[in-house]
Assembly symmetry: C2
Homo-oligomer: 408 residues x 2
């Protein structure tokens, strides 16, 4: 597995563009992007489980069900959520405009939005934006970079990656970009991830893979526990690598591709966690020895989501009582008296809890370890072999500032 | 229903004391309290559902099951949680010492602790404290006040109430005190509530009543979503009012008492929410028209627990997208397009959302309303007749300060 330069345009046959259409305030802010596949691409996707779904989620679910896509049109600034019938019609209109300009069916154009909940999309600006985007698309590293910037809201940096693996006698590339999780700006929340690959793969196999990998990557990230109305992960695979069609989830070829796709998703997920609202440090929680993987996920996620634990990480306070307490209300079944808790970072490693009670440790060394980045916490439950990893960030003054002051 | 002066000593035959034993730092901090019933009292209780339960919870569950209690010994400063067998033995020892001094069976002595998770109780200090407490108990308003102060951790004020109702030809009094919910200080979390009454009631009827009322009061409060290891609500009824024994949950007498007990619990619950960590204002969320009461609870609680909504209340920002978003991930079934959202306070009333989309409202007036205290948010789901109320508080810089800096 080789990490290569670039993002969504790294796989063969994918082009992109990103520019400022004028949706967001501030004249330097890019706010529209496009991803285009020169050939029809098999597509898979996962979407928010929030009952309140944004209009683009409804549109994309239909496209993904049908299974083939050619382009994704993305805007930041306005979420197109809670916008009723007009919002849905605007999605179709975006797809129609892009389809016409790219000479592809509107049913093959995906759309995604992130930004303030409530307002309708400014369709005149969007329409002009799509025209400019389609005239600028190219397969360069710069084009991917522009697109990766245009989808951001209050993320502090772009998030993209590309990796190459060998499948049979072919090089297969996976590229991806995403924007931050958590409702990073008031109502600006949303995790959006767009992944491209030139792999040749059957839709059913891709669907299954994406479902499983999203569960272990993006769905294990929490910034503030608020699930957005727009969360979307889309994967497009256009077969341009020329590898033999992957049609069996258990084949060696499938497993190689799954590892590559999983690497991209996990990388992007960690980037999101480490750039959470007001975050100073990435917080990773591993759970080992749970009754099953599901229990391990519940335990790791409860700790990573606990406001008290997150504030303690910010304060570099080895407050293991909060960790054990969060495990206790996670809903997972475990025996508190068997629990061991270890913290580690680039500054060292320390056991805080053994058999559910305090280990004999130095608070000073603990504080030193908690000053590192990322801060890693290992939970040993000592039951069976279930394990999981969750990612989050610390809770800081800055989080409150970002979320209290935005619109006032 | 008449609100009277005082707290747990207001009902006939209840005495109390509160003093500084020396567990907490700071020479003026009271840290031990006792509540004593001169006659055997029927007792009921509810406890944390956290898998990680503090030692006193285990001890009290046995006492409550057996059904009769004479005293409650309470300390703040140390939680006696995650303390293994020694922690359990210390509970028994506390009960033994108090029992001997009060001439009651140790099996009739309840214990409660709140404070740092991990350390063992300092039994020499506790033992001296119990001796002093038992020598000082009296039925005065001052004694109840002392006890109400001694159970606090970082609460900014004591929380107590007493009310009197007429049942048949007798006056029945209910008194209560509690300490703050949320893990108010690092590891110092815990909601403790102690309620006394001179009502004459059967244990089974009391159990049922307490269970139901706690669900609608204390269990509808959230400060930070972290469920403590020590949460405890105990109710002691010693029959000294001389009313006819209440033995039927549906009798008029039972309903009068239930209303009084419910009033005490709801008052204390709101006091806890309004004094949450770093809180500037009480935040009340009412849900009307849900499919059932359970769904209404899920919806109201999701909104009151949402970090983003709480930060928006702090920032006086009418960020209804966050409210609708939180409803969406609550797990309750509802139709977003039927939702109406109204905010109100002593500064006015305003509809933010109608049929799931933005109502035509003034942001300026909204900010004015959100400056009031309490801030009330009404969610109309327009399905059936399920309803519920949840209480919380805003999320502030101060919350982060309290929870990040405590031990460093």
């Amino acid at each position: 597995m080789i990490i290569t330069n670039g993002g969504v345009t790294a796989p063969i046959g994918f082009q992109a563009a990103g520019l400022r259409a004028g949706i967001k305030a501030g004249k330097d802010n890019k706010d529209m992007a496009i991803v285009y596949s020169t050939k029809p691409a098999v597509c898979a996707g996962t979407f928010t489980r929030n009952v309140v779904k944004a209009a683009p989620v409804f549109w994309d679910q239909k496209v993904v069900e049908q299974g083939v896509a050619r382009a994704i049109v993305i805007n930041s600034g306005v979420a197109n959520a809670c916008t009723g019938k007009e919002g849905l019609m605007n999605c179709e209109e975006e797809a129609r405009i892009a389809g016409e300009l790219l000479d592809v069916a509107k049913e093959h154009v995906l759309v995604a939005s992130t930004g303030v909940i409530g307002p309708q999309l400014p369709m005149d600006i969007i329409s002009d934006g799509i025209k400019k985007l389609t005239s600028q698309i190219e397969d360069s590293v710069q084009a991917a970079d522009d697109a990766a910037h245009a989808i951001l809201t209050t993320d502090t940096h772009k998030k993209e990656i590309a990796i190459t693996v060998r499948i049979g006698d072919r090089e297969v590339t996976v590229g991806g970009m995403c924007k931050g999780a958590g409702m990073i700006h008031p109502n600006m929340g949303t995790m959006l991830a767009f992944i491209t690959s030139d792999v040749c793969i059957e839709k059913e196999v891709l669907d299954q893979m994406v479902y499983e990998l999203v569960e272990d990557s993006f769905n294990m990230v929490s910034v503030d526990g608020d699930t957005s109305t727009n969360d979307t992960c889309l994967v497009l695979c256009n077969a341009e690598a020329g590898n033999e069609l992957i049609q069996d989830t258990d084949s060696p070829q499938a497993l190689i591709f799954k590892e590559a796709l999983g690497h991209v998703m996990t990388y992007l997920a960690k980037q999101i966690a480490g750039d959470g609202e007001g975050c100073t440090r990435l917080f990773e929680v591993n759970c080992f020895g749970a009754v099953d993987n599901k229990s391990a996920k519940m335990l790791a996620k409860a700790v990573v989501c606990s406001s008290l634990t997150k504030a303690a990480v910010f304060g570099k306070d080895a407050n293991w009582g909060r960790i054990l307490c969060a495990m206790g209300y996670s809903g997972a079944d475990f025996d508190p008296e068997k629990v061991k808790i270890v913290i580690k970072s680039d500054h060292g490693k320390l056991t805080l809890v053994e058999n559910g009670t305090a280990a004999n440790y130095s608070e000073e060394i603990a504080t030193q370890i908690l000053s590192g980045d990322p801060v890693i916490c290992d939970l040993y439950v000592n039951q069976k072999d279930g394990q999981a990893t969750a990612w989050g960030c610390d809770l800081t003054y800055e989080y409150v500032t970002i979320n209290a002051d935005y619109r006032s």
